[in-house]
Amino acid sequence: MTQLIHSAALGAALPWYPLHFVPASDLVEFLPELVVAAGMVAVLILDLFTAPGPRTRLAWVSGVTVTVAFGVAVGEWVGHVNGHAVFNGAFAADRFGLFSDFLILLVALAVIWLSPAYLQRRGLDSGEYYVLLLGAVVGMLVLSGATNLIVVFLGIELLSIPLYVLCALNRDDPLGQEAAIKYLLLGGFASAFLVYGMALVYGETGSTDLARIHQVVLHGALAGTTDPMLLAGVALIGVGLSFKVSVAPFHWWTPDVYQGAPVLVTTFMSVATKVAAFAAFLRIFSVTLGSTQADWTVAIALVAIASMVLGNVVALAQRSLKRMLAYSGIAQAGYVLIGVALGQPDGTAASLYYLAAYAAMNTGAFGVLTALSGRGEDCDDYAGLVGLARRQPLLAGLMSLFLLSLAGFPMTAGFFGKFFLFSAAIHDGQIPLAVWGVLTSAVSLFYYLRVILAMFSAVGGPDQAVNVAGMTVDGAAVARAQVVLARPTLGARTVLTLFAAATLVLGVFPAVVFGLIQGIHVVAG
């Protein structure tokens, strides 16, 4: 009610302001999303006025857009320590959402940076790529701040639909098409569950507003009880979000889609989507439904364990680098889910830190593959990496750093990511989660280090197979890869180096970032 009065006053003060049902200050809080959306439209229009040929100009516009949005988000971060809800409780203006926004925007910026060269090499350079990318970014930004089930759904669909199309960016590639169809149909299927779950929750609590739901389960009619319909709804929402963050056993699309999509798109969706979806996951489960934690924590923990085990184990057997990183991503999502399963602030902070680390290291790892991907094909085979240390020492070093970080070595971001997660798990008494995390981390070493081993292996002749820790790589494929794969551009090297620096900073001075998110304020509605 006070907000309405406030908005009326503001509306009176600004006679040209048309939206009298939403205060202008709320729009300010929504500014990053608006900036990116405006950028999207601008790119769309600009594309029409761009002569056939390279679309580098669009990349610049997109990059500037994202950068501006990032600047705006930083400004808002400084602006409020404690967040509040805007748009009548539909959207959160809090540091939690903003932190996720930072990660999403930075990843998007990196991807845009890598785009022109990659797209031109692969012959995929087109205006709609940037439009769709920015559209997905808008969806992610919406999702990370959504505090109403409707907005959550809207955000998810807004980020998903452009991604479906992006997967099929290469119209001549049957694998890309197949990936897009699978992603589309499974995504729709999962959305149906998600919406149905939301419907059930809404039915039991009488509101789609997270703050209202929080109040109802905490103090209202449902406090202290276990309502089966509510829990069924929670379960279905969990399934839908699990699909988005690709944790086992709802991960089936992930390896296929990651492999089929162009590696640049994979880079983007493997990181940014997860950040946004985990933001929603954390907000809904740890905060909104925090009081019913006892009911769902075991289920989430089981999913986390299944994800860590399956992801890490199956990654061992992969011959495709993209699939390997896809399974690695499933495992990483399992680690982040530890923080969700705890349902406590330290778990939330740990998950956020891990997401930051993941954004740095996974973007880096996929980014290296992107930078190497050459004319006509992605760098998807171990053959492409054999001998990389001699050909591209910098890139091999960066890739090693990212992989070591994914494996969780100190000096890299992954170490403190796992450190905070496991310590939170132990603190909250969930020791099995920490033990499983440790066990599966040990397994993961093998496949991460094997990639490093491949990069540092010597290249034989075309008829000499290279043995990489039990995996035989065809000599002819190695020889071919040397010819086909690209030399990374200066821009690619620069952006990857920056991400490597971020990985190191997160790994050596974790307080720089952890200080931001420890006890971060999460608005539930």
Partner: protein, 102 residues
């Protein structure tokens, strides 16, 4: 709202959801699968509207409208994709799309 009516609508919604799910699981034609998904979304819509009436709130109806809009856009994209994939005389069979696998 009449409790019997309520139960009936919810029951219908669950039935629609189940029919849609079975359709997704058993059909191989991507268009039919897509229609089944739409059916599931509409089951959710029905539940939302029913609950909205039941709880005397507007959220459900708003949500249903959003879902309809989103579903429409999804259909647009989906049909475009399906057309793109199957335009070269391929059979409309999802099982043909199994190149990406272990």
């Amino acid at each position: 709202m009449n409790p019997h009516l309520f139960t009936g609508f919810i029951g219908l919604s669950v039935a629609m959801l189940s029919i849609g799910a079975v359709g997704v699981l058993v059909r191989r034609n991507p268009l039919v699968v897509f229609m089944s998904i739409e059916l599931m979304l509409n089951a959710a819509n029905l539940a939302l509207v029913t609950y909205g009436r039941f709880t005397h709130t507007m959220d459900g109806q708003v949500f249903a409208l959003v879902v309809i809009a989103v579903a429409a856009s999804e259909v647009v994209v989906g049909l475009a994709l399906i057309t793109g994939v199957f335009r070269r005389g391929r059979r409309l069979d999802l099982d043909d799309l199994s190149e990406l696998r272990e």
